[in-house]
């Protein structure tokens, strides 16, 4: 959801006169939201500006982002960055994978999350009630 967050902020800044460029790796989310300029790094989520420790690649990606900021001729364009993820084509299959081997674990995680959220809501409600009583 980070990609939606920066997309919404980019749109807001642009509406207020500040040109923006979004650098990210989730193309569908950014394009669905619609941003002024998007530099797409087609590598795993987490390293939008290039692979870890690859300083030359990172410099190139950031320079491309600045080029796009300076020169993109129209809104809604996506440029592909120089970032690459060699030697591991299977990375595209991993994120968010659901299969027979992890279905039970995911269901249990969901149950745990709902319990935790409910407990937090209850804590918040108790806190609000105490604050109102004390006001």
């Amino acid at each position: 959801m980070c990609h939606q967050t920066v997309s919404l902020v980019a749109r807001y800044l642009e509406e207020h006169g500040i040109p923006t460029v979004v650098v990210g790796s989730a193309r569908d989310i950014v394009e669905h939201c619609g941003v002024p300029r998007f530099l797409f790094s087609d590598i795993p989520l987490g390293n939008p500006c290039g692979r870890p420790w690859q300083r030359d690649e990172q410099l190139e990606v950031v320079a491309e982002a600045l080029d796009m900021l300076a020169e993109a001729p129209a809104p809604g364009l996506t440029w592909l960055s120089a970032a690459v993820w060699p030697h591991d084509p299977a990375w595209r299959t991993r994120y968010g994978r659901v299969g027979p081997d992890n279905a039970a674990a995911l269901a249990a995680t969901g149950d745990e999350r709902r319990l935790n959220r409910a407990a937090l809501r209850q804590q918040d409600a108790s806190g609000n009630a105490s604050a109102e009583a004390g006001a």
């Binding site: 923006t20 979004v22 569908d28 989310i29 692979r51 420790w53 950031v62 969901g110 999350r113």
Partner: protein, 164 residues
């Protein structure tokens, strides 16, 4: 593999997220933000002399201890005092990569170098961190105005936004 051309097509994150949350037992799919129009300021042609601000969903270390994502708020960090480790407990691909190199998502070194090369004027002195929260309304109505206020304060003329 149900995703078409899995070896070179962009990963369909919205579909993956939908199936993942359904597998966790959530019955209502997330509604992703969608717009018919896109705001746009004419690209300046050159960035020479311009003040550029870096904005990211990576946050200060104390975000890590937040009880829930909604307890995190927009904040700024002086570039001269950036932490060695950022709060990165959001959704990224933990099976394929890591986030131990902040430069791969908060590219201060690269931006500083490109400014010194004359590609643009100055990197404004603060990183602006914007939290990832479930509610797009919260992002738009509370967080985005705070980001804009920080930009105005710093004299921002253009912004680079990075998503973890």
């Amino acid at each position: 593999m149900t995703d078409a051309n899995w070896h070179d097509e962009p990963v369909p994150y919205m579909a993956r997220t939908r199936q993942y949350y359904r597998a966790m037992g959530y019955t209502r799919d997330y509604t992703w933000a969608e717009h018919d129009t896109i705001p746009f300021n004419r690209s300046p042609g050159t960035l020479r002399g311009m003040r550029i601000t870096l904005i990211s969903t990576a946050g200060p270390p104390d975000w890590t201890g937040a009880r829930k994502p909604e307890d995190r708020h927009v904040c700024t960090t002086e570039l001269a005092n950036l932490p060695q480790e950022f709060a990165t407990n959001v959704a990224w691909d933990r099976e394929s990569t890591h986030v131990r190199d902040p430069e791969s998502y908060v590219p201060v070194r690269a931006l500083t170098r490109l400014a010194s090369d004359g590609l643009f004027g100055t990197l404004t002195p603060r990183l602006i961190s914007v939290p990832t929260v479930y509610s797009s309304r919260r992002t738009l109505e509370e967080d985005a105005p705070k980001v804009l206020a920080a930009c105005v304060e710093d004299g921002t003329e253009a912004a680079v936004l990075t998503a973890l």
